[in-house]
């Protein structure tokens, strides 16, 4: 793999192939404001770690997992910082932006307005194709929590199918 050997042109081709998916993942998981920066962080981290990619899975799968881990870690740091500043507790599962029953709301917008925990699990399971066991491992929650948050997200989103 040329990119792993330090070929920036080869890496640019990989970026071109995968940037849309990584950026969309970041947008859905963390919001529009942070998506650009997170995408940059993911690809810079990928560039740094390319030598460790052994080709046991598709590059897209490896990159995607790296992206999910990085986005979740950044979100966790951000939540911790907000919690410290606000003297709040357990922001992870609080609905920062409550879903509102706006019938005309675009489905993508409705996803963004889901409570944080439910949104992350919904995006990882229904949009990205991860299994509950994988999600539970990534988020540090139980499989049961992953299932119940997914159901919660779907029940909210069914109001926005219009």
């Amino acid at each position: 793999m040329l990119a792993a050997a330090g070929d920036a042109h080869a890496f640019a081709r990989l970026y071109r192939e995968h940037a849309g998916r990584i950026h969309s993942l970041a947008r859905r998981m963390a919001g529009d404001d942070d998506a650009d920066e997170l995408t940059q962080d993911v690809f810079v981290r990928a560039w740094e770690k390319l030598r460790t990619f052994r080709g046991e899975s598709a590059f897209g799968t490896w990159l995607h997992r790296l992206a999910v881990n990085l986005i979740l870690a950044k979100r966790q740091q951000s939540s911790t910082r907000r919690a410290r500043n606000a003297g709040d507790e357990a922001l992870e599962w609080t609905p920062a932006k409550a879903a509102q029953p706006e019938l005309a709301m675009d489905f993508e917008t409705a996803v963004k307005r889901l409570p944080d925990g439910a949104r992350q699990i919904f995006v990882l399971f229904d949009v990205e194709g991860y299994r509950h066991e994988e999600i539970a491992g990534m988020l540090g929650v139980s499989v049961g929590t992953s299932k119940s948050q997914l159901h919660r997200a779907r029940m909210i989103l069914r109001e926005h199918l219009g």
Binding site: A12, A19, T39, D126
Partner: protein
């Protein structure tokens, strides 16, 4: 001390997603399908959740602006490297998994089709005071069955016959000033069945597909009516006029004539 009474409906409602994702044990699945047999609310909710999963899997990706790569290139020490046109989608394991998750009853395990379509299509008289299904049901054709088979013809004909009954009664009730929540409940169920048929090989027939699409719109209008509806409201009038203007009743009669397998044997 009295044991708290758990409503079995609540228990199953919370597990609709697990059923949809095929994560129930065989015993639980059988129990759920037994519940589904008599619960219109769960059938409709299940179909809505299925629609959410389909919509989620269909969400597209959007490339970031050029400034994103420019910053990456700077950070990796290659500021002069520009982007080339993207190659065709190579795909990967996650994408394949996601595609496999999009399930429609006609192409997934027969159990789902049996639970939703077959049970839903066996609707019976919609004017029954409580919305329970009759004992007669049309079994769903097995997945992969040809559209030319009797099974599909019977399923389609029965659906059209019963939707015709619903719309005829709705029209009469709207004219007589007695529209109640029963029409809405049955329309919701028939809407689910209509969508299932639209996703099935039965909809390969262009004439039938057009009819089902028109039915979908009208049934959605009726299903969205409040439980206690003033028959003089604009919503009722719009639904009633849509039935007339789209000539739904004569079109259904043409495609599901009296004496078809659907109507034979009904009491």
């Amino acid at each position: 001390m009295t044991e708290p009474v758990t409503d079995p409906h609540d228990e199953w409602t919370a597990r609709l997603s697990e059923y949809l994702d095929d994560e129930l044990s065989p015993g639980e699945r059988a129990g759920f399908e037994e519940h589904l047999r008599d619960c219109i609310t769960c059938r409709v909710t299940l179909e809505q959740l299925r629609a959410v999963t389909v919509r989620a899997a269909a969400l597209g990706n959007r490339d970031p602006g050029p400034h994103v790569w420019a910053e990456i290139a700077r950070r990796i020490g290659a500021p002069d490297v520009t982007l080339e046109a993207p190659p065709p989608d190579a795909g990967d394991e996650l994408a394949a998994r996601r595609a496999r998750r999009i399930r429609f009853p006609w192409v997934q395990a027969g159990a789902a089709a049996a639970a939703v379509l077959a049970l839903g299509i066996g609707i019976g008289r919609w004017s029954t005071p409580t919305p329970r299904l009759p004992t007669e049901r049309v079994e769903a054709p097995a997945p992969g069955t040809s559209m030319n088979s009797d099974a599909y013809r019977v399923a389609v004909a029965q659906h059209l016959t019963r939707t015709e009954t619903l719309l005829t009664s709705f029209r009469a009730e709207a004219a007589g000033g007695q529209v109640d929540g029963t029409a809405r409940d049955w329309a919701g169920q028939m809407l689910t069945n209509t969508r299932l048929l639209l996703d099935s090989p039965a909809a390969d027939d262009p004439k039938l597909r057009t009819l089902l699409e028109d039915l979908e719109l009208v049934l959605a209008q009726i299903a969205a009516l409040p439980r206690q509806t003033d028959p003089n409201t604009t919503e009722v009038d719009l639904a009633r006029r849509a039935v007339e203007e789209k000539q739904l009743l004569p079109r259904m009669q043409t495609l599901a004539p009296a004496g078809s397998p659907a109507t034979q044997g009904e009491s």
